[in-house]
Assembly symmetry: C2
Homo-oligomer: 348 residues x 2
């Protein structure tokens, strides 16, 4: 089902206009603003066709047309022309990183804010793929009789910690020993490696403290696995409220309740790792029914060529995809650089 050139132009005009104005667009407007060389009546005919094909819809009989999610999809896949950011905008985005960053979390938070600030959508950052990360260091710290803290550092610069129960008989020195052995055995290994081959060796060496090791291994597994390794940063939740679609409170409420369930967002974002480049999810393409009025434009950022996380923009389906595309693309490159500089990878 392919569209002839004029239909494409009409659809493009409708979508561009609707993105710009958020008002249903009528045949007159198109004839006037976008010179297609035909009269409103002709455009009306084309619009009737497009509606039948499901690319646009009518809120009510005497209103103009509005793109359907299917229409947006067609636009993104076939009609959208690439956009470049202006030099000033690139400057603005870069300058956000000027204040000295010392923590991965800080960089990511900042990135979320920048994304949101420049687009008036909500910036979403996902860190993940610790599954592909490597173990760097583990430390067991004695907190009190019967309690210890496990701290695990991965080579992506992530730090995970947790309090565990230990037999009261274990003293600080024991923990030091355990830490040392674990570090020595696991240094630079990936989690799969550890699980498959090393674990027996370690058990053997530390037979006495089986229980503690089990708990410590839990933390390691958690921190290296995708499951809890995921963390979401949201930036500028309230910027998106400037979008005209949030003129009624119910919408705001559903959005906020949506954003409170971070793991669902995380779920959607993992999609991104299946594609190269920038991915767009529109409306009900994102499972959850409450998302059907929202879209996400997302991309992954890399370290050493491997994707280690994703950034995205969450906006109404009416969002400016071309611009979001450009911003996300620019920011993924940018963020990859900043991250690599922060955790310079020479030694390993």
């Amino acid at each position: 089902m392919t569209l002839d050139a004029r239909k494409k132009n009409v659809l493009l005009a409708i979508i561009q206009d609707y993105i710009a104005t958020a008002e249903p667009v009528g045949s007159r407007t198109i004839a006037r603003k976008y010179k297609l060389g035909v009269s409103p009546a002709t455009i009306r005919n084309e619009m009737a066709d497009l509606e039948e094909m499901g690319y646009i819809e009518q809120p009510h009989t005497s209103a103009g047309r509005v793109p359907s999610n299917r229409g947006y999809r067609y636009y993104v896949d076939h009609l959208m022309q690439r956009e470049e950011l202006s030099v000033e905008e690139e400057q603005l985005l870069l300058s956000g990183y000027l204040t000295k960053m010392q923590e991965v979390a800080q960089v990511l938070r900042r990135t979320g804010q920048l994304l949101s600030h420049i687009t008036s959508y909500t910036g979403v950052i996902l860190t993940t793929c610790y599954g592909q990360g490597k173990f760097k260091h583990i430390q067991l710290i004695h907190m009190s009789a019967g309690q210890a803290m496990v701290v695990v550092v991965t080579d992506t610069g992530a730090v995970h910690h947790r309090i565990i129960e230990i037999p009261e008989s274990i003293c600080p020195a024991d923990l030091e020993t355990i830490s040392a052995v674990l570090n020595q055995k696991m240094h630079g290994k990936s989690i799969e490696n550890i699980r498959l081959t090393l674990i027996k060796e370690i058990y053997f060496e530390l037979a006495k403290q089986k229980h503690v090791i089990d708990l410590a291994m839990d933390v390691i597994r958690d921190s290296l696995s995708v499951e809890t390794g995921e963390k979401i940063y949201l930036g500028g939740i309230f910027n998106i409220l400037n979008q005209p679609e949030f003129n009624n409170i119910e919408k705001v409420k559903t959005l906020l309740s949506l954003l409170e369930h971070e793991n669902e967002i995380a779920n959607i974002m993992t999609d991104v790792f299946r594609n190269e480049g920038v991915t767009v999810r529109i409306g009900e393409e994102m499972v959850d029914d409450r998302m059907k009025e929202y879209s996400m434009v997302m991309g992954s950022y890399h370290m050493e060529g491997k994707p280690v996380g994703a950034i995205g923009l969450l906006g109404p389906t009416r969002m400016d995809y071309a611009r979001a595309f450009a911003v996300v693309e620019y920011m993924t490159r940018n963020l990859s650089l900043v991250m690599e500089r922060l955790l310079r990878w020479r030694g390993k």
Copy 2:
């Protein structure tokens, strides 16, 4: 300027009714619902007086009266009767902690959610007072040539980490040595102590690595100092939108933009440490002008008798102070217990 008994009763009735209904309350309503034994006309006279004294206001001529912030203040200080939570509510709050908690952050996040869930206001948790915390453990971890990660653990269970630049000549073993010395010297000491007396000793012992120690000390100082030790957790931002005052988007926007500046909220909350028990801040008592339609009810939680953080409820000035009071009071006790159990303090 003290009020006679009848004026007090009228003011109390107005405030209670307004808290319950969010509608301006008229003389008729009071005469009917709250049996003061006088006619509406008499109540009207009293209301005129109360208005002149600034305890209540009139949205427009033909509307009932609404409490002013001054009125709320008088209510909280002199009229409010203490309320107890029902057994079911206490149960509900307790059950929130049943799923196993392994991290301080997790407990605090949960607490925020619980606070919000049971009151439909926004729960705010502030952790602070690491200045009074003690140093537990430091670890320098070699990440790559020229870069190391510093991880500091305090006895309150907080973990701070940061990437620092180091001379390329320093190898993992050096960092290990430095870690060991630092740990040995500083174990169990407070930051003041470290700064004042130990630092020279440490420099002497590790003269070669002055630069690294400086950087590490920065992290320690930061993590133990109140400045960056503060962290805010917000719970149920969207629960508060159920309050009828948020019927218009502008209100929602200002609230959200307010909540994005966590440090300002933190500022307000430090007030709490000056008082015993539960503190109430109403409207413009909280500096920022945009806060004049909100109130906070807050209390501090303790570990070993010392306040280590604060919890609070943020709601409209019309909030149910008596109930908020009860919830906050109960939760501070609760949280103190949970925290102490999580980081059992026997050993030290």
